[in-house]
């Protein structure tokens, strides 16, 4: 009768189990992404508006001198393309992380978190899956941009991939950390105003930093300290088959710090408690 009750010794998890779990999570995120066309379209429209309208208008105002990694004079559109790629990842990272913490995706997080694999690993998989989605968006953007005369060397499309994975992980982790840590930023408007816009504008996405320095040395230092600047530069150099070592070091270190802190700070009860019984005040 009670033959089923013997307690078995802990057996841990094999590498294969980890890999199955990882591919499963990325696979599902990809499937879901294919079903959310609006999300895809809006993720593309945003940078394209910048590219088609903003850049066209600013082309005459801003002259770009020859700075690495560029070897000739370039159009303004070409200059801001890496910044816009990073912007796609910034939005995607913030959006998907926010939904991980607050209740929109809570049902899915419940399913995810009852997996027996270590929670840190599950969250890492989730961040990686979010990054994979951002890669699809970025490459779609690059295809359209190609018709707009943004034509990096063919090898650049390949060499930019690791840079995008790293920057995607960094921005996703940052988003997760922010949404876990700062209660006031639980809606996207708050994140836009206090995170996305400042990070985007105080960076090298729209203007080269030597120009910023001419205008305001203080802003220049802020831009230098902004991890987003380094994500942009990492992508910019990688798109031309080069490595910006400083940016790589900064983005790598920030990824490790943000991700560790985000996994440590993640608390699903934050999203659930407010929906708990008897209208408890959070």
């Amino acid at each position: 009768m009670s033959s089923i009750t013997t307690r078995e010794a802990p057996r841990g998890f094999s590498l294969q189990e980890y890999m199955t779990c990882l591919t499963g999570i990325v696979w599902r995120e990809g499937l879901r992404f294919l079903h959310q066309r609006e999300r895809f379209v809006s993720a593309l429209v945003r940078p394209l508006v910048w590219l088609f309208i903003f850049a066209a208008g600013f082309r005459q105002v801003l002259g770009i001198s020859i700075i690495p990694p560029y070897e000739t004079y370039i159009l303004y559109e070409v200059f801001i393309a890496p910044g816009l790629m990073a912007m796609i990842q910034l939005f995607n990272g913030m959006q998907s992380s926010l939904s991980m913490v607050y209740d929109r995706e809570m049902g899915n997080m419940r399913t995810l978190l009852v997996s027996p694999l270590p929670r840190g690993f599950l969250l890492f998989c989730k961040l990686l899956a979010g990054t994979a989605v951002s890669l699809l968006q970025v490459y779609a953007f690059l295809i359209i941009a190609w018709f707009w005369d943004i034509t990096p060397p063919p090898i650049g499309y390949l060499t930019v991939l690791p840079a995008l994975i790293l920057s995607g992980l960094m921005l996703g982790s940052l988003g997760m950390l922010i949404s876990s840590g700062i209660k006031q930023l639980e809606n996207f408007a708050g994140v836009m105003n206090f995170v996305i816009f400042p990070m985007f504008f105080a960076s090298s996405a729209l203007y080269p930093l030597w120009r910023v320095r001419e205008g305001s040395p203080y802003l220049y230092y802020i831009c230098q300290a902004n991890p987003f600047t380094h994500a942009v530069e990492l992508i910019r150099f990688a798109l031309y088959g080069q490595i910006n070592w400083i940016s790589l070091a900064v983005v790598g270190a920030c990824t490790i710090v943000f991700m560790t802190a985000a996994i440590f700070a993640y608390d699903p009860s934050r999203g659930l408690a407010r929906r708990g019984p008897a209208g408890g005040e959070g």
Partner: protein
Amino acid sequence: MTSPAPVPEPRQTPRPDPAAVPALSIDGVSHAYGQRRALTDVSFNVQPASFTALLGLNGAGKSTLFSLITRLFGIQTGRIGIFGHDISKSPGEALRLLGVVFQPRTLDLDLSLTQNLLYHAALHGIIRREAAARSAELLARIGLSERAGSKVRDLSGGQMRRLEIARALLHRPRLLLLDEPTVGLDVKARADIISHVRQLVTEQGIGVLWATHLFDEIMPGDDLVVLHQGKVLAQGPMNRVVTEAGAQDVNTAFMRLTGAQVMPGGGA
């Protein structure tokens, strides 16, 4: 206050060996959301191959308890074990043996039935081929084989619940938690699900914890835990709980137990 008549309790089902490791053991668990206490010193066990009904009104703390057992919330006080594995100390081993059906729907509506099952299997590290075989087998058992490729969105409420139960069984757990799984279902769908789960208990020896506020889902042979305002008011075989409350049925017993509790104008 009440006058329990010493009536010998009838035993419908054989009880498991008490020395055996319980499928689920809740030991002195308390939980608070800020100032508000949701659970106070809750303790009870679920035996393997038994059906334990967790009976309580909305807001009694059932969902909080489920969130604690599934490790969604950190345990503040007390201890929870699944087949002897402490959920805080070795969550991996504990969760491996646990299947859950949450009260809110947690399926991906835009994915197909099979895709939902495969995703869940992946989360448990079950390789694709094995996962596909088990999914097909479970879909056949719940009578949804021919719907395998359609979107979950197109299923009825009862079918979704059956799919969620199938999903919870995919990694062959030995303890199954269900949080008010029949809410919002019609009579037929309810009956199907209840009989399916009871079958799992008798045929596969799975320990079941079934949270509900519906008295008619509880049968005489079940174990019963009455949870009210975060406290366990009574527990034991259903017949004994009913008799000790001096009542004829679960309904009256519940009203007596909780009514007596509400009167003094709750402390804390």
